[in-house]
């Protein structure tokens, strides 16, 4: 009898787990099956004109050894009561290839800077006057991945900071087309729209010989409320000289700032599972 009851309990627990898993997938687009997601876009239905505009932007950005721009945008968050909340932010980004990045940002309750100097990440929050530092990989591409997955740091629109961003953007894209021409903050652009598996996205690329992204928007389809992320890029500085001041990427701690640690996914797991 006891065994039967136990088997019953076990069965119930299994069903509960499976239920949770599928809920989670529906809500957040769990990436646990990512090993199976090896889809390639060779068969994707990308309009040739749209593809060419994208390639031009990718080549142009990848070819810039140093550049800076401003960002302003918003992203939507679904809270525990299923309400859509909008969070706005602004910032500046400075990039020196192959391995330097600096961002300054402000949002509703935060103000700070992120530094990547080729060997170290620093996160400095001005309002809390605390900073954290940790080792970083040697290239910007690796650093962006590492920052996102090891430190939960993900500059808005980081897609465009990767070298060869065309490949990265197109990887999960199913179809794409040129929508038309549009002026963004006074700059004539070409508006492109793409459909992906988990996200749909649009990008507005400057017309002419500087094919820079001017606006970027992502709609998340794996969440029922379909939240939107959008960012506008402005004040592009693409002159290769004079070179950026090296100090721009080097963090000097303010005297009274408190040094703290980064919470990594590993530490979070340990904190929530103390016997590990």
């Amino acid at each position: 009898m006891k065994i039967k009851r136990l088997i019953g309990v076990l069965f119930f627990v299994l069903i509960a787990i499976m239920g949770c898993e599928s809920d989670k997938k529906a809500e957040t687009g769990s990436t646990t099956d990512r090993g199976a997601e090896t889809a390639k876009t060779d068969n994707a239905d990308i309009n040739e004109e749209a593809a060419e505009i994208m390639r031009n932007m990718s080549d142009y950005l990848t070819g810039l050894q140093q550049f800076s721009y401003k960002i302003a945008g918003m992203h939507e968050i679904i809270d525990t009561a299923n309400n859509k909340l909008e969070e706005t932010y602004k910032g500046e980004i400075y990039v020196k290839r192959p391995n330097k990045l600096r961002t300054n940002f402000t949002s509703e309750n935060k103000e700070g800077s992120i530094y990547y100097d080729g060997s170290q990440f620093t996160m400095m929050g001005k309002k809390v006057n605390m900073y954290a530092q940790t080792k970083a990989p040697p290239t910007l591409d690796q650093a962006l991945d590492s920052a996102k997955y090891k430190l939960y740091l993900d500059p808005p629109g980081a897609d465009i900071l990767y070298t060869d961003l065309y490949e990265g953007l197109m990887e999960e894209t199913i179809s794409g087309k040129l929508v038309g021409e549009e002026t963004i903050n006074g700059t004539p652009t070409q508006h492109l729209s793409f459909e992906g598996k988990e996200v749909d996205w649009q990008i507005w690329i400057e017309k002419g010989n500087k094919p820079l992204p001017r606006k970027y928007m992502i709609t998340t389809k794996t969440v029922a409320e379909k939240p939107v992320f959008s960012v506008e890029f402005s004040d592009w500085k693409t002159d290769q000289s004079p070179a950026f001041d090296k100090q721009l990427f080097v963090f000097t701690p303010p005297k009274d700032a408190q040094k703290i640690e980064f919470l990594t996914p590993e530490k979070l797991r340990k904190a929530t599972n103390p016997t590990k």
Binding site: K2, T31, R34, E37, S146, I218, L268
Partner: protein
């Protein structure tokens, strides 16, 4: 019998652990955010960068205790005092040590054992 109950406990604690993480991994009220990237390739690379360890079930009483105490919070409880132990700064709140840490750009407070 022993095996069966062990398996049941294992699944139960797995479930408990998932719930705790789900609850506290995002310390702000927000539970689900927006993709800021399209590049799914990065997600796949995560396996290499950050291998997800096999979850080992803790003893059941620990999981039960953990379920009642938030281990990562976005704001400190009332009545905290700063305390420095071995050069590390903590917030000492009603017998519990909280250590400030950056989860991305957000400062969160993690419950830690301080000797």
């Amino acid at each position: 019998m022993k095996k069966l109950s062990f398996i049941a406990v294992f699944f139960l604690t797995l479930l408990a652990a998932e719930e705790i993480v789900a609850q506290y991994a995002y310390p702000a009220a927000a539970v689900r955010g927006t993709s800021r990237r399209t590049a799914r390739r990065v997600d796949r690379r995560q396996d290499v960068l950050d291998p997800t360890p096999v979850v080992v079930a803790p003893a059941a009483p620990v999981a039960a205790a953990a379920a009642t105490t938030a281990v990562v919070v976005s704001t400190l409880p009332a009545g905290c005092v700063p305390r420095t132990v071995s050069g590390v700064n903590y917030n000492y709140c009603n017998g519990v040590y909280y250590q400030p840490q950056y989860q991305g750009t957000q400062v969160v407070y993690v419950v830690v054992q301080v000797q």
